[in-house]
Symmetry: C2
Subunit: 345 residues, 2 copies
């Protein structure tokens, strides 16, 4: 099969690779119908160490079940399924608590001998717990929206849920990438009436307005903080959904959060140490939470609105390419020419 590997910063290649095979009775083999490139794939695109063997890429996909291990029940060959960006057994205590990203028998794609989703096919460990059947056909126009359940929609939703967004909470979303826009959509779905989107790409923030943003702040840093405070009578917002991961985004989050409020992070932090002392989080009793989203936990909840068209998260895809064009897709996203790239292997 053809599959995507990254060999170093900016060095993405689509190459021939062995077809995946069942290794455990809990595995399935899925032929990938749609995949995509994630904003978080741009972090290794900037700083992955160069390697001889390359790293498989991609953690978002939906596809058709081709083979099933003997211990997998509830799925059949030919089923169209979507996978969360972390595979999980869906039965351990962490999964039962809704924290599938800490599953005792789970893990992440493109690591530890598991392939990536930017490929023609993939071996799915813990298939019964990982895969969710989709009641549509391979030709459905809903596939882009359904694919967002794999990561960005569930991740934006995680940010909003962890922040306890509701009708009484004002919201700032930091970042107008796909996850930021999904955080806007999620905040709106949870009833927020005031959603300030911080982003400076007009085509993206316009989509953010469609998804529910009531205000857009294009300024960044101290200027951006001042603007959000001006919009909120000086107080900042009850919740801040941080969907970027860089230190300046964290600093903006601290700057715009209201005393007693919540900063919920879903952008993968590109830093380890950051201010959390009296002058930042402690003094005003700020809560900091978030992390890799257990999107599997949210799929059942989010699926119906996607199926009936109430929400259209698939609108974040603004370019569609074939598998061999994936290197171009990374370039386009890195140059901000594309918001999010859909891949049809």
């Amino acid at each position: 099969m053809r599959a995507t590997f990254m060999y170093g910063p900016g060095d993405v290649r689509v190459e021939n690779a062995p077809d995946p095979v069942l290794r455990q009775p809990t595995d399935a083999i899925v032929r990938i119908v749609r995949a995509c490139i994630c904003g978080s794939d741009l972090h290794p695109y900037h700083n992955i160490p160069a390697s001889e063997q390359g790293t498989p890429m991609g953690h978002e996909f939906l596809g058709v079940v081709e083979e099933l291990g003997s211990d997998v029940s509830g799925l059949r060959r030919g089923d169209l399924v979507v996978a969360p960006f972390a595979w999980a057994d869906n039965t351990c205590d962490f999964c039962r608590e809704g924290l599938h990203t800490s599953c005792r028998h789970g893990g992440f794609w493109a690591a530890g001998g598991i392939g990536g989703g930017q490929a023609e096919a993939i071996r799915v460990p813990q298939a019964q717990g990982t895969l969710v059947k989709l009641p549509v056909g391979e030709d459905s126009g809903l596939l882009p929206s359904l694919l967002t359940l794999s990561d960005v929609y569930g991740t934006g939703y995680h940010a909003a849920k962890m922040a306890k967004v509701n009708a009484r909470t004002t919201v700032t979303v930091i970042g107008d990438g796909a996850v930021g826009l999904m955080a806007v959509l999620s905040a709106k779905r949870l009833g927020a009436e005031r959603i300030i989107l911080m982003g400076r790409h007009k085509d993206r923030t316009d989509l953010g307005r469609d998804f529910g943003a009531t205000d857009v702040v294009a300024e960044r840093g101290e200027e951006g903080i001042a603007k959000v405070r001006e919009l909120t009578g000086g107080d900042g917002t009850h919740t801040v959904l941080e969907a970027v991961g860089y230190m300046n985004a964290y600093e903006m989050a601290v700057g715009v959060v209201r005393p007693g409020g919540v900063i919920s992070r879903v952008g993968v932090p590109q830093y380890e140490d950051a201010p959390i002392g009296f002058g930042s989080l402690f003094g005003p009793n700020i809560t900091l939470n978030g992390g890799p989203a257990p999107v599997r936990a949210y799929m059942d909840e989010l699926l119906p609105d996607v199926l009936d068209g109430t929400v259209e998260p698939g609108r974040v895809f603004d370019r569609t390419i074939g598998l061999d064009e994936v290197p171009d897709g990374y370039r386009a996203m890195n140059n901000r020419e594309a918001l999010k790239v859909l891949v049809r292997p």
Copy 2:
């Protein structure tokens, strides 16, 4: 009157000072009946910049109302009252949300022209919102326990509340100072069945066992982390109540918290930057919260159990002194000869 001032590290003096007078119609003057020295007073005791004029000290007191401004209602001269360590109007939006430490018209003792509690008398701003009447006399044996409502009991309770401690959550309390012991008592009160106390002073951890600790870990650092993990099947505890404030305590908190768990800090951080990235908080979806406790918000809830003797938080006081002995009291607490020192002006 006599009052306590700090002039530099280790330099505490009790001196003559002008008697406090009403300045605003919302003020009261309180004659102090009991005060105490706080673990957090030891931070300036170590590192306060030397000054000519000195800094008033003390933020925990109960006493008798001597004078009332014209705008204060609900209180009378002669009432015995307790004050929270932050004064507040108890009516603004933050106070109504239970975040009195961020009151729009509030502040802290011993700052901005307000005196400290280690004194014979004090001017209380926003007296109507700040002071809570106590239904006992000046000679009541309950005064030590009632005084803990001023800070340490409410602060330990804040840690446990913010961490959402309940019967299903395992708890680690870091620190065997008065606040740590009050965090143990609070976790027990909220139903926790497994409370691991990290501390290495046997007399204090013995009191911690009386308050509800089920396990004591005397080891610190990596060794302490390993011990707590051993006690919890490798997972750590759902909640960690950090009642110290030093970086090594924060690092232990990160080391012993279970994925998806909460670190609630009430020890005043003696650092600004700390690890919060993928390898510490983000990856396992840890929540970090806490801050200066809005103890005023908890007084009504905690008072009945203190009055009827269900809990005896006053047991944290193991030495009683007069006002002129306050410098000795600081020395005793700093040398760990006393857990918490009660002052009878």
